[in-house]
Amino acid sequence: MTVAEKILAKAAGVDYVEPGMLVYATVDRVITHELTLPVAAEQFWHGYGRDAKPKNAEQILFVADHTIQIPLIRDDWQSQNMVEKSAEYVKELGIQHAFLPPAPFTSQGICHVLFPELGLIQPDTLVAVIDSHTSTHGAFGAFAVGIGNTDLTEIMASGRLLLDVPPTIRVNLEGRLPEGVYAKDVILFILSQVGINGFTNCVVEFGGLALAHLSADDRSTISNMTVEGGATCGIWPVGQLRSDANAEYKQAMSYDLSRLEPYVAVAYSAANGKPVGQIGNVPIEIAWVGSCTGGKLEDVAAAADVVRGHKVAKGVQFIVAPATLNVMQEAGRRGYLRDIIEAGGHIAQSACGACIAMGPGTTQEGQVAVYSSNRNFKGRSGKGMVYLASPATVAASALAGRVADPREFLHEKVEAWGHE
């Protein structure tokens, strides 16, 4: 069996599963947020009685993360209503792991970064989240699956989730990433090869010698965006949790990272990636580093490394939203936030923000932006056009005022050190 099949077999309490089987699997962790919990809770009470309690309240994690920055860009009282309802409902449902806002319109962080950071996502477990970027948690050896409200309702009722065992596609990554090229470039490159439908209904399992050189943040970035190819989960072997030698794969592919260049995905698809050198002259007005994909500590570090000692181009809004309060605190302690602010950047609250048109950096009609996030569908982040790139490429673009190669700025720095 593959890693994913082993986890599903264990969760279903059976010895063996194979693709195409349907299993009722016991869920180890469920994550919900303020856009979904109120709807799911009301649906749960409607179906099972107003006094019903979830069977597995101790396994449910809640954080308010999606709507936190809304009041900075528009008047939408309903979003706060969703947060307040959530706070009330987590109490009624007995959800103890509720990461409620410290104050109105604040957040402790984005769920896909916060919960792994807190050690609440463990290998060899089944994780279900009402969010498509659930694929992220495969980076930590979990089988993680995006679900809807009705699924959550039924998990609360039974503790279990009905799942199709998906086939696994093996992606081998070989070689070491060159300077200025990052995990985000790896996944944008892979998506440009397989397309927006290339992984639909499949698990992507990563392997190959490059794994030794990719950090937890790198793996998280890559797993996070496997869903942009339609994947159920992007999973990595962890410790003893490995696929059997005779495991069956639907497909296998192999990529050499040592010759990769920074990649940029042109609007309106994450699979529209091209090497940055082929993008041409694209002036930008917004450069945004943030989201579950591109707001982790190493992402903020990469952006700070590029802008340190430079100034943001005139007419560009450069915004950095560290993904969690912990990332914010550590980035501050290490001086990254100061580097970003001294270069002319702005720091925003930890939240999904501009990625879903719910915070500063959301585009207006005619605006062109470059984001370190995951999705650039038309309308998703406002009325403008969004290019997707690594945090370093976003930072370089903020300095150049156009989509730019981060190596232009990193090379300058290497030369400067050489003169000392």
Binding site: Q78, S132, G146, I147, G148, D151, G230, A357, M358
Partner: protein
């Protein structure tokens, strides 16, 4: 068993995503009836072969290309379509979570594209959503959930 749904078709292309089906800006609510008027509001014009904009309550059946419902996990995507008067979705293929959410919420969907081949926006179409032709592409358990009217009703 037989349940005929007849009505007006709206045709869309490949890779219609959930941000197009129901933009996130309308999702800060528990009042799902408010979603209908905004269904497919942000559909990219290149994905409507007729050149027409989708009008809520004016159509009954969506006929789509590959990968319908790509993107987010928002269950309000199939719900918004249903609230806008859509009773059936026929597509060449669906994105995983959309498919799951449609079955769970009891919105009849099928991958048997032949049922709609040649359909054009505005034309009438009639499908039997309980026929073998409609349900045949579906796993038996999914079929049972859909026939029950959704996952909660099934359980």
């Amino acid at each position: 068993m037989s349940k005929i749904i007849a009505g007006k078709v709206f045709v869309v292309g490949d890779d219609v995503n959930t941000d197009e089906i129901i933009p996130a800006r309308w999702c800060t609510t528990t009042d799902l009836d408010t979603l209908g008027p905004h269904a497919l509001e942000d559909l990219h014009p290149s994905k409507s072969p007729s050149g027409l904009k989708f009008e809520p309550y004016a159509y009954d059946i969506i006929v789509a290309g590959e990968n319908f419902g790509a993107g987010s996990s928002r269950e309000v995507a199939p719900i918004a379509l249903a609230k806008a008067g859509i009773k059936v979705v026929i597509a060449k293929s669906f994105a995983r979570i959309f498919y799951r959410n449609a079955v769970n919420t009891g919105l009849p969907i099928t991958r048997n594209y032949a049922l709609a081949s040649g359909a054009e926006t505005g034309q009438p179409l009639s499908v039997d959503v309980q026929s073998e032709a409609f349900l045949g592409t579906m796993q038996p358990l999914h079929r049972a959930i859909l026939l029950a009217g959704g996952l909660t009703a099934f359980n």
